[in-house]
């Protein structure tokens, strides 16, 4: 058997992203003889920083053998069943984006067209009231899938993970699994004179770490792919005007909510992400419209709790032209900085890793793998961008320049077609490489008031009485099921050890 094409994989970065990347690569590639070495840069996270994740993180953790209860206990994390979007800017309608499906099939046909039709006949029940996950979330209940629930529909959950303890946890995990680490304050990538690929990383103190393949997890600075290899970064500031993020924390909310709350205010939005120890608050705004001082006042007012430890971060939404160049792949924010609205940071990191694994070099020649990776990751990132762009484009958050401006940004062709087709028929156009599923798109589009003008003609064969009965049955099922669930607080106390050991 031939030796692996890559023997020494060097991962450069910091905080949770670098350790998550290292754990995944070590887990998947150590059997092939790949040695994973992390060059750890100084942390850039502060106590208020939190990862509000999406549901896909749980199966990744599980694959890595992470004990959820211990992780949640040790990091003082909470669970999340979705995001509640509130309008305190214009006082318009709010909506819930749940991590689960809405309704159930009726007469073996989709739920949505039945709901659209019923609304025409005056049904007064909101779409999200047919969602078990959303109803459980609003009542503070943990939702543990059982066979009943699984036969009804799909439900999932995510986490609010405080960034500092999460990174510490992942680091211990990676080191225990055999990842080697060099701590560094300064790095200097050294290129091969002829090929132009990265040969080694020089560290402060005269150290030098050589490798065959490199992951750039250095964040938006992209010190390897961007600075060393000169891959350019495309700005998406035109589409996403927010370029500042203020993070702070306040007192915990009691009882601890099981969802994130996103409050649109006059010149930006505030996200409230509860952990067990505190409430993490993120205020997102545009430096052209709001000063940092004004931002803290706006954040405090919108969060309605006193804020501490505020830190302001600059963000330049955008992405590198290619995530993989020569022998270096940018992962996470080094590849793309997204708008903070749906908290996709770890999701984007995960996409980068999951696409890389089945294309990781197996021979010294890998141009075709690189092309495939760049194409797929770019496409996946564009679909995430579409989801975020739709939130801004469709907002009804008043006439202030932040939100009114967002409504003027022309959507890309794919997003435009998606909104058009949904408005016309309630059909979610589902492209290749979508991260957000049909349920997510339905929640987002209906939440923003895009009401389908017609529905799948097939449902006219179902009798109105049957539809009415099914609606009642679904609402009854949700009511009963939610009552059976324990509260989020109880679940955190009883299932998740308060102080865990890593494992």
């Amino acid at each position: 058997m031939s030796a692996a094409a890559v023997k020494d994989l060097i991962i450069v970065g910091r905080d949770a992203p670098v350790w998550l990347a290292a754990s995944v690569m070590q887990f998947a590639l150590a059997p092939a003889g790949v040695k994973v070495v992390v060059i750890e840069l100084p942390s850039e996270v502060a106590p208020p920083d939190v990862y509000a994740t999406l549901p896909a993180l749980e199966p990744l953790h599980s694959r890595l053998g992470i004990d959820e209860g211990r992780l949640v206990g040790a990091t003082q994390a909470t669970f999340s069943l979705g995001k509640n979007f509130i309008d305190i800017a214009a006082g318009g309608p709010s909506f819930f984006h749940p991590y689960g499906s809405t309704g159930a099939r009726i007469d073996n046909k989709e739920f949505l067209p039945n709901w659209v039709k019923a609304c025409r006949f005056g049904l007064p029940v909101a779409f999200e009231d047919f969602c078990l996950t959303a109803v459980a979330a609003k009542q503070g209940r943990m939702l543990v899938p059982d066979p009943d629930i699984e036969s009804y529909g799909f439900t999932d959950y995510a986490y609010h993970l405080p960034a500092i303890p999460y990174a510490a946890w992942l680091k211990v995990l990676a080191l225990r699994r055999g990842v080697a680490v060099h701590e560094a304050r300064v790095i200097n990538p050294v290129l091969h004179a002829e090929e132009g690929a990265i040969a080694a990383i020089e560290l402060d103190g005269g150290r030098r770490v050589a490798g065959d393949f490199f992951l750039d997890v250095t964040g938006a600075q992209s010190q390897l792919l961007g600075s060393a290899l000169g891959v350019s970064r495309e700005s998406s500031h035109e589409e996403f005007v927010a370029d500042r993020m203020l993070v702070a924390f306040g007192a915990p909310i009691d009882p601890v909510p099981i969802y994130s709350e996103i409050r649109a205010c006059a010149d930006g939005w505030v996200g409230l992400y509860p952990s067990q120890a505190c409430t993490h608050v993120v205020y997102t705004y545009s430096s052209e419209l709001t000063s940092d001082d004004a931002a803290l006042r706006a954040a405090t007012s919108a969060a309605r709790i006193p804020l501490n430890g505020a830190v302001v971060r600059k963000r330049q939404p955008g992405r590198c032209t290619f995530a993989w160049e020569r022998n270096c792949v940018a992962i996470g924010e080094a590849a793309a900085t997204f708008d903070p609205i749906h908290a996709v940071e770890l999701q984007a990191l995960q996409i980068g890793l999951v696409h890389l694994l089945p294309l990781f070099p197996v021979r010294s020649e890998y141009a075709v793998e690189r092309a495939e990776y760049n194409q797929n990751v770019r496409s996946a990132f564009e679909r995430i961008r579409d989801f975020q762009a739709a939130h801004y484009l469709l907002n009804r958050y008043g006439t202030g320049p932040f939100w009114a401006g967002a409504r003027q940004v022309p959507p890309g062709d794919k997003l435009r077609h998606k909104i058009d087709a949904f408005r016309a028929r309630g059909d979610v156009v589902f492209y290749e490489d979508e991260t957000f599923m049909i349920d997510d798109w339905q929640a987002l589009l209906i939440g923003h008031g895009v009401m389908p003008e017609s529905y799948d003609p097939a449902i006219d064969r179902t009798s109105p009485d049957l539809i009415k009965n099914e609606f009642r049955r679904i609402l009854g099922f949700i009511r009963d099921k939610v009552q059976e669930q324990c509260t989020h607080s109880f679940y955190l106390q009883s299932v998740c050890a308060p102080a865990g050991r890593n494992g």
Partner: protein, 512 residues
């Protein structure tokens, strides 16, 4: 009360009647009125006797009884397609409707198999880890397990007489309220302002008005092509075959649960086993072989006596640039043609019918055309056609039939970039493309890539997690399970006789 939307289907072959039947099943009769115009004077092409597993979903949508449907259409089961002589003369491989091996640790089986080979564990040929292929080799068939998978996953399709299938659906649809009009369309009336189709004038002088029109008129493309002037996109630079001779022959001794496709110097020959006869045809390129010689080639290749004179079909590969324009959708040959190498004809019809049903105008909007719905239909249609096209081209391009002008030609032409990339990726590491929309699946690509002799230079090292001894054990265990699974299957001929035999006489054509 809103008046029903009048849907007028032009043409009564497989496309027309599949469309009419599905409309009758899915739509509410008070909201949609379905009319189909067909002429006994116009023959149908009747291609598509071999199908893909998705056809079962279509029949399920109509709630057809499978054994009854098979009895009435002389149907048999199909587990895949055997390709003979495609890589080079003497070679053969099967493209199965099923998977090779199993996913171990999230890593596709071909990587484990390639690794076993690299480690010198001497695994059996890849096809022996596929239960559908081994069943084909035995001429055996059984229904897939519904509860647990005994060895490897598979599905199945059918071979049947497409003319009988259209007859069957005609009776079925008429019994459910579809109005059939016998007649030939002589004129098409357009609205002067919108350009929408408003009415059709028949030879008898009768006028048929409608709100929405489905063009199932075959190659002629009477509405979409001739009337609405949708351009034809020609794909003959990649798929040069443009003729076929078709001839039925007696039922052969070799009653295969698969279609056979045999490459010939000027094209390829299909062989489709039905209950009462065998369907045969020679698809060829008139640039490389004359019609008469092609006819002789076909007759010489039959493995049973011919039952009729061969019939010549002319076609070209390609499609209409828009399958849905204004208030008209083209379905079947009116929208495009891809040679039946992978039995996609009825699948293309089925998919178009299902997408159209979902996107049909609401009766409230009358004949107002919603471009947003048409755009979505066309997007889906484009993706499907292009992907099937790439998959068909793969069969031609990856050949080693040196010195034969057709095959030398197809080996040398510039490929669509999308296909070139897929080939490179497979050669580099056995990576098989995945996409959500359109056909074909990873297993299909794998079967044809390996079958046509494309050889990966390496395997995915994610497979290395299985310890060597365990790999050897897992491979031989799976091999054994596939073998015993297939050994327990009845012969295809026995199962057909028991389950859906059309003899001793054809069942009276009762409406199901």
């Amino acid at each position: 009360v809103t008046a029903a939307l009048r849907i007028v289907i032009v043409g009564g072959g497989s496309a027309g009647w599949m469309c009419a039947a599905a409309c009758a099943q899915v739509l509410h009769a008070e909201r949609y009125a379905i009319t189909l115009i067909e002429s006994d004077e116009i023959g149908t092409v009747g291609v598509g006797e071999a199908t893909l597993p998705a056809l079962k979903d279509f029949n399920d949508l109509l709630k057809l009884d499978e054994s009854d449907f098979m009895r009435q259409t002389q149907g048999t089961f199909k587990l895949g397609i055997e390709f003979r002589n495609w890589d080079k003369p003497g070679d053969r491989y099967i493209h199965p409707f099923g998977s090779f091996g199993q996913l171990w640790g999230g890593v596709e089986f071909q990587h484990h198999w390639m690794r076993a080979r690299a480690l010198g564990l001497d695994p059996a040929p890849l096809e022996e880890y596929c239960c559908a292929i081994r069943a084909c080799r035995r001429n055996a068939f059984d229904f897939p397990d519904t509860k647990s998978i005994r060895s490897t996953f598979y599905g199945y399709a059918y071979h049947f007489d497409a003319g009988l299938y259209a007859d069957f659906l005609r009776r079925w649809a008429i019994a459910r309220g579809v109005r059939r009009i016998e007649g030939q369309v002589m004129g098409v009336g357009l609205n002067a302002e919108s350009g929408n189709i408003e009415k059709l004038t028949l030879k008898s002088g009768e006028q048929i008005a409608g709100d929405f029109f489905v063009d199932c008129s075959g190659f002629r493309s009477l509405l979409l092509g001739e009337t609405l002037k949708v351009e034809w996109e020609d794909w003959s630079q990649w798929l040069p075959c443009d003729r076929a001779w078709a001839v039925p022959s007696e039922r052969a001794v070799d009653f295969t649960p698969f279609t056979r496709s045999t490459a010939m110097p000027g094209g390829w020959i299909w062989r489709i086993p039905l209950q009462h006869r065998t369907g045969n045809g020679h698809v060829f390129s008139s640039r490389f072989i004359g019609e008469e010689q092609a006819r002789e080639t076909l007759l010489g290749a039959l493995d049973s006596a011919a039952l009729a004179e061969p019939r010549l079909l002319r076609f070209r590969a390609g499609r209409r640039a828009q399958a849905w324009k204004r208030n008209c959708v083209g379905i079947g040959l009116a929208a495009g043609f891809l040679e039946p190498l992978e039995s996609t004809s009825l699948f293309l019809i089925q998919k178009a019918v299902q997408d159209m049903l979902r996107l049909l105008p609401a009766p409230e909007t009358g004949n107002h055309v919603d471009a947003r719905l048409a755009d979505e239909f066309n997007r889906l249609s484009d993706a499907l056609y292009e992907r099937i096209r790439d998959f068909l081209i793969l069969h031609y391009v990856a050949n080693r039939r040196q010195g034969e002008p057709l095959w030398d030609h197809v080996r040398s032409y510039p490929l669509p970039e999308s296909l070139r990339h897929k080939l490179n990726l497979f050669e580099s590491r056995g990576h098989v493309p995945y996409y959500k929309d359109g056909f074909f699946s990873r297993d299909s690509w794998l079967a044809v890539l390996f079958g046509q002799g494309v050889s990966p230079k390496a395997y995915d090292r994610l497979a290395d997690f299985v310890p060597r001894e365990q790999l050897s054990e897992k491979m031989s265990d799976l091999h054994e399970r596939v073998a015993t699974h297939v050994a327990d299957m009845p012969l295809h001929s026995e199962l057909v006789a028991r389950y859906c035999s059309s003899s001793p006489q054809l069942q009276a054509a009762a409406v199901p």
